[in-house]
């Protein structure tokens, strides 16, 4: 029995890695699937910002980019604001696949979130609000 702290997903996308890389790292394409809008400064230390339009107004989540290995690996860490405690790390890994591209997603660090994470309530709430009716999908053990 273990206490894992990550979310892992693997998907096969029927397009070449370059196409997936563009969807992961270009602002206009990120906005199309990750948020309503996105901005990205694609370099380690650069900022990635997602905005979601809500009936209550726009909601924003920020991250700091940690890894940029074109066509192979892209990672950032959620961080509400500069100077505030970083939160979980999101890493995408791309591999060529016979059908196109194998994309791995790992969001890790849940078990070691500092107590201060509670100050990021709006950030967390943003995640939860995004979910809508899908929230129960994985709730069963």
């Amino acid at each position: 029995m273990d206490v894992p702290d990550s979310i892992e997903r693997e998907v096969i996308l029927p397009v070449p890695p370059a196409r997936v890389w563009a969807a992961l790292t270009q602002a206009d394409q990120l906005g199309a699937w990750f948020g309503t809008q996105a901005s990205i400064d694609l370099r380690p230390g650069g900022e990635i910002v997602f905005t979601w339009d809500r009936s209550t107004g726009p909601r924003t989540s920020r991250g700091v980019i940690e890894t940029v290995e074109p066509m192979q690996r892209f990672a950032f860490r959620w961080q509400a604001n500069p100077g505030e405690p970083p939160m979980t790390r999101v890493e995408f890994t791309l591999e060529p696949h016979v059908e196109g591209t194998r994309l791995f997603l790992v969001e890790s660090g849940f078990a070691s979130l500092p107590p201060e994470w509670r100050t990021h309530e709006s950030h967390v709430e943003g995640w939860q609000r995004e979910l809508g009716d899908l929230a129960q999908y994985l709730a069963a053990p």
């Binding site: 894992p4 999908y137 994985l138």
Partner: protein, 135 residues
């Protein structure tokens, strides 16, 4: 339930789980049932005093209960105490499912010929924080 209440409770649980030794302590308590610090000492590379400190933190987070039995205190896993955290992580996981489905659509929109190929899930997502013992 009120979101703020969930966050408050989960925050204490996360803080308690932040330490790897403490996670081992919790795992042992879950496996052994009610156990004293002395019993746990046999299976952990730390002192009994350190184990007691970890148990106190776990107790304050509501993860273990403490019951005095004669000279010693026995600790047991509080059933369901990890559910809020595991549910929260599961929710984030389902959020990723939704996002990745949209990503697939975004890449397919620019490559319509590939629409008949499907997305797959590795099926080993670690969405639960804990495999709860029992039925």
């Amino acid at each position: 339930m009120n979101q703020a209440v969930i966050h408050e409770a989960s925050g204490a649980v996360f803080a308690a789980l932040a330490d790897p030794t403490r996670r081992r302590v919790l795992r042992l308590v879950a496996e052994r049932g009610p156990a004293s610090a002395t019993l746990l000492e046999h299976d952990l590379p730390v002192t009994r005093q350190a184990i007691v400190k970890h148990l106190v933190v776990l107790n304050r987070a509501g993860l273990v209960s403490a019951q005095r039995a004669g000279q010693e205190v026995r600790y047991a896993l509080v059933p369901g105490s990890l559910e809020e955290v595991s549910d929260w992580i599961a929710e984030i996981g389902s959020h990723w499912d939704e996002r990745l489905a949209r990503l697939r659509q975004v890449v397919l929109d620019q490559n319509p010929a590939a629409q008949d190929l499907s997305i797959t899930d590795s099926g080993h997502s670690r969405a639960t924080f804990w495999q709860r013992p029992g039925p």
